[in-house]
């Protein structure tokens, strides 16, 4: 099924008698879902772009590539740096803006500017009864009624089929530089990243690759300012070694897309934790591969079996991004929270049509 309009989609949903698997670009097959494929490919196109107002509105099926090209022409970008899952998951096709929003996909810059959800201004969606619903709008500040925009963002299609999204975009930067520290163990690396993040120098990426024993800190902005901050940060980080400045933006695409695990077999887990807890959790994980992003707040692990069992009780959540371990893909939640989530799904999708079984 490939509806061409919101009305057609609403009719399909209203008349559906079996589960639907909602498909954007099909590049992020995270979570397990069954059902007949419902593609958003027929609902594509940017409906509004006002560079002076930093606002973009697009239909859910719009390819991300189309959007980034459009933005680049005005020297703007999606500042939250959405990850491209294709290499890691071995998928092909074009990611869509709707898929990105449905899975709240961000990248290394999330730590400085916020996640996809923080840039969301509005959504339109079709709920499980076939109602067309809107929430938010296209303006920067909006507290009119409940914020269903954030609820839908990251709901993996389980509350509704997104049909249109509005986002805030930001100017691209003049230049960037990466400071690299070599030879730190995980705990020292996390401490160095914490020191950098606690400085006023506006670090927009903080990652550590234990395999290469390399800790990376990114600065962005106008050239003079970046040069000044690079020096100041180098001075600040002296206790951790001599930082070397390199100009290689591709490093951050590698971190963002976790390409280090792309060609390696095994399950891939994504951990969101309190940064200073990360080294200890990594020690418990017994993983074959580790990448720290978000100053340690995001940990990618290449690991077999039931990772959660090895980690025990921890603050945060673990998601199985790739692999077949016989465990829930999303972090199980305490009973009262799970009951609220189930209650919301029952309200928004009373017949359980959308991506059943996906998030629990």
């Amino acid at each position: 099924m490939t509806p061409k309009s919101e009305e057609e989609l609403a009719r399909i949903v209203a008349e559906a008698d079996r589960p639907l698997r909602i498909v954007g670009g099909g590049t992020r097959p995270v979570g397990r879902s069954t059902g007949a494929a419902l593609s958003l490919a027929g609902m594509s196109g940017v409906t509004l772009y006002e560079p002076g107002a930093l606002t973009l509105v697009a239909k859910a099926g719009t390819p991300l590539a189309e959007i980034t090209t459009l933005l680049a022409a005005e020297n703007q970008r999606l500042a939250f740096e959405p990850m491209d899952h294709r290499k890691l998951l071995g998928t092909t096709g074009e990611p869509t803006i709707g898929g990105m929003v449905a899975s709240n996909v961000s990248g290394p810059r999330r730590i400085a500017v916020g996640a996809c959800r923080d840039f969301m201004l509005g959504v339109r969606f079709v709920d499980g009864s076939g109602n067309i619903v809107k929430n938010g709008s296209r303006v920067m500040k909006n507290v009119t009624g409940y914020d269903l925009v954030k609820l839908l963002c990251g709901s993996y299609g389980t509350l509704g089929v997104l049909t249109e999204v509005s986002l805030k975009v930001l100017p691209d930067v003049e230049t960037q530089v990466t400071l690299v520290l070599q030879g730190l163990d995980d705990a020292r690396a996390v401490a160095a990243m914490a020191a950098a993040m606690s400085s006023p120098f506006e670090v927009t990426g903080a990652a550590h690759d234990p395999a290469l024993s390399r800790t990376m800190l990114r600065l962005e902005g106008f050239a003079d300012s970046v040069a000044y901050r690079a020096q100041a940060l180098t001075d600040l980080l002296e206790p951790f070694g001599a930082a070397q400045a390199i100009d290689d933006p591709a490093i951050w695409a590698t971190i963002r897309d976790v390409t280090a695990f792309a060609d390696q077999p095994g399950d891939v887990w994504r951990l969101s934790v309190k940064p200073s807890d990360a080294p200890e959790l990594v020690a418990k994980a017994q993983a074959r591969g580790v990448i720290y992003d978000w100053a340690g707040g995001l940990v990618w692990l290449l690991s077999e079996g039931d990772l959660r069992a090895r980690l025990g009780d921890f603050t945060g959540h673990a998601t199985l991004i790739r692999g077949n371990a016989a465990v829930p893909v999303f972090q199980p939640e305490p009973a009262p929270i799970a009951a609220i989530a189930a209650g919301l799904r029952a309200k928004f999708d009373p017949r359980g049509l959308f991506n059943p079984g996906m998030m629990g």
Binding site: G114, A115, D118, V273, L344
Partner: protein, 477 residues
């Protein structure tokens, strides 16, 4: 403004309800005499008042849970309250409600600089959160003008913004987690010192839910290292169109100021008369502030003033020192006070796309003529969040109603150009009955469905946010 009739059964059981509450609270944490409850009869929307049935001032999450359990069992409506600075009537009581005020819950539970967060009880004021970390070089970014008084509880409930949100975002972008008690007394933990949700983003919908989903007792907040410095520049123009263009050009140039504030002539004149900040008397005044090291500030201001000059300002003044910076901000910060000197005023806060600014300002001017009420405009221009201040005379019969009608027309205009009814103050009772203008029935149903899940009996702050006719079947059930 209409409020539902109080529940007669609840009123008749007042003694029982108070006795039950007394059993779970310290003696000084429960108020039920009219002489005492009257202090809680309104928030900052003072035109509407109603003393509650009782007020409780718990000191712990456990006490909040005990109170909610009793109110749930006895079917008593509850209105949560922080500091009572809501401009939308969000904390307005009803005669049959128990106010749960968190004002005594002000502790800092944990500060963690390595992971850059602070955990506080939500009765703590916004400014004193920054106060707790300032000496160590950190701050809490959202800075509503009411920050000396307003509580984190109210900030979360209203998703409050501030002058610096252009760069740092509003409350929801700086909130990491909450402890919340649902209406049946269940204590839940959502989020924490890690980023983003592992399943549905419940924190995202709790923030801004105006005290209708639960009573938030503790919060984990993101704190940030203080910038090296900040400096404002002031520019005056002889038309708001031109000032609007300057804002657009600055944003398009890739500069991200921390604040871009806009004032129009009536507001400038009032501020000058009141605060004598030395503002040029002109049609539109912009204050733009940037942050960084001295050299970075110089560089950014050079770009900004170049843009400003290209549009022929009537005045362009860069702060050379802290004293001058203070003077530039002085007028803006006293804007509400200045307007209040002249008259009673009603403050709106609709948001519009920045590109619609000149049109909206012109229409407001025309409507001001039609209604015969003066308006001053002061607002956050970078994000289109307007604050039209309508002047009226509370002692003149009919003036408040006229002012409310004018206000409603302005908000309808905001929606018409693609914006919304409220950018940071919330819906409360004030904009409740205008929700139909922005939302279709299905849109409101979806929002009310969320409340159904958290508070199936609709006991928490039930007469707010949703038009009374829309929520009636649920409130009656």
């Amino acid at each position: 403004m209409q409020m539902p009739a109080p529940n007669a059964s609840v009123l008749s059981r007042k003694d029982l309800i108070v006795a039950r509450l007394a059993a779970v609270l310290p003696a000084d944490a429960l108020l039920s005499d009219l002489a005492e409850t009257r202090a809680y009869e309104c928030d900052a929307l003072t035109a509407y008042r109603c003393p509650p049935l009782a007020v409780v001032l718990p000191g712990t999450t456990a006490e909040v849970a005990a109170v909610l359990k009793i109110c749930h069992e006895l079917r008593v409506p509850v209105v949560p309250r922080g500091s009572g600075t809501s401009l939308a009537g969000g904390a307005l009581p009803t005669a049959d409600c128990v106010i749960i005020g968190v004002a005594r819950m002000t502790q800092v539970i944990e500060t963690n600089y390595d992971d850059r967060y602070i955990r506080v009880q939500t009765g703590r004021t916004n400014l004193s959160v920054t106060g707790a970390v300032e000496a160590d070089g950190f701050f809490y970014a959202p800075d509503p003008s009411s920050q000396l008084a307003c509580a984190i509880a109210g900030n979360i409930a209203m998703n409050s913004g501030g002058a610096h949100c252009l760069k740092y975002g509003v409350t929801t972008n700086n909130l990491l987690g909450v402890t919340m008690v649902t209406m049946d007394g269940t204590v839940i933990e959502i989020g924490g010192p890690h980023l983003d949700a592992g399943n549905l983003d419940l924190l995202g919908v709790i923030c801004g839910s105006e005290g209708q989903l639960g009573v938030v007792t503790e919060a984990t907040l993101r704190i940030l290292p203080k910038p090296e410095g900040a400096r404002p520049v002031l520019m005056g123009y002889d038309s708001s169109e031109v000032a609007g263009q300057v804002v657009t050009d600055i944003i398009k140039a890739g500069i991200l100021p921390v604040a871009i504030e806009f004032m129009d002539r009536p507001c400038i004149e009032a501020c000058e008369a009141f605060a004598k900040a030395g503002y040029p008397i002109c049609e539109a005044l912009l204050i733009v502030e940037v942050e960084g090291s001295p050299a970075e500030i110089d560089a950014q201001l050079a770009l900004i003033t170049a843009i400003a000059r290209s549009h022929n300002p009537v005045e362009l003044r860069e702060a050379k020192d802290a004293e001058e910076a203070g003077r530039i901000w002085l007028g803006r910060k006293s804007a509400f006070g200045a307007m209040g000197q002249i008259n009673d005023y009603m403050c709106l806060d609709g948001t519009i796309p920045v590109s619609a600014l000149p049109y909206v300002l012109r229409r407001i001017g025309e409507m001001s003529q039609e209604y015969g009420l003066a308006v001053g405009n002061v607002f956050h221009a970078g994000d289109g969040n307007m604050h039209p201040l309508i002047l009226f005379d509370a002692n003149k019969p009919g003036d408040l109603e006229l002012c409310e009608a004018f206000g409603a027309d302005i908000l309808k205009l905001c929606v018409e150009v693609g914006g919304c009814l409220t950018g940071e103050h919330g819906v409360g009772i004030e904009k409740r009955d205008l929700m139909h203008v922005q939302f279709a029935a299905a849109d409101l149903e979806a929002q009310m469905a969320v409340k159904d899940v958290f508070d199936p009996l609709w006991l928490l702050n039930p007469a707010k946010v949703f038009p009374l006719d829309s929520s009636a079947p649920r409130r009656a059930a």
